[in-house]
């Protein structure tokens, strides 16, 4: 939960302390800063993984699980958002118009 609280603090800083005219320049810097941090963290995650002895054996299993955990959310998100947008945003398939 600490992570969410810290992010909320960041959101308040971004909303109240960064002047609108500075958002573009600071935003660019901020996203580069994030990129560096993310790479460091992913590297550390790699270290964490690589420290496990049976790591290579687990790898193929991880790939299969990852695929299932990517495909199911995609399909069900589409299955839910399609009727919602059709019903409430009045968007139908525009085959005839094309």
């Amino acid at each position: 939960m600490a992570v969410v609280i810290i992010m909320a603090a960041g959101t308040l800083i971004g909303y109240f302390l960064i002047p609108v005219r500075a958002t573009e320049r600071f935003g660019k810097f901020n996203s580069q800063f994030q990129l560096i941090l993310v790479c460091i963290l992913i590297f550390m995650m790699g270290v964490k993984l690589g420290s496990r002895e049976d790591f290579l054996q687990e790898l193929t299993q991880l790939g299969w699980k990852s695929l299932v955990l990517a495909a199911f959310p995609i399909v069900l998100s589409v299955a839910l958002v399609y009727p919602l947008t059709k019903r409430f945003l009045g968007w139908h398939v525009r085959k005839e118009e094309e």
Partner: protein
Amino acid sequence: MVYLAIVSLIAGVLCAQFIFTPEISDLLIRLSDLVLYVLMISVGISVGMNKVVLRKLKEYNLTVLLIPVGIIIGSAAGGGLAALVLQMPLSTCVPIVSGLGWYSLSGVLVGDLIGAEAGTIAFLSNLLREILSFLLIPFIVRHFGPYTAIAPAGATSEDTTLPMMIKYTSEDVVVISVMNGVICSACVPFLINLSYQLFR
């Protein structure tokens, strides 16, 4: 970005396997919490700076919120189904899919919360979600309409999959796509934590 992330991951694994002593690895793993906190401040700042999104949201009226809500519920349901198929606990699968395609952050957060293996699955599956969404957008626009094309993209609809949205849909859909991405991204850390606490 994708390449950088993959290279970082592989470099980390290789370093741990061949170069680092266990002491160095331990030290790095302990430091990662600190780096994570700095990252979360930075992520929060980007969300907070997006005043334009809040303003646009009022213009478009709140029905566009249905899209992120649908994505979040649909993804969680997908995670539940995957938990059944894979015989994995809900408290692992639902946080993983709550990444909504934001592989870098969800990999890190899930790894921190549940463990390195779950973190790697979160990383890989959300990366796959991003890549698959990228490829699926033209197909979904044609068969299910442009708004639905935002659904697979999830949190990535504001950055990585945006070029595809720009190419295959109209301007107003692109604006909604960006708003959806910002809303989903802001929800990701919260959802990962919440779903873990809920199903534990």
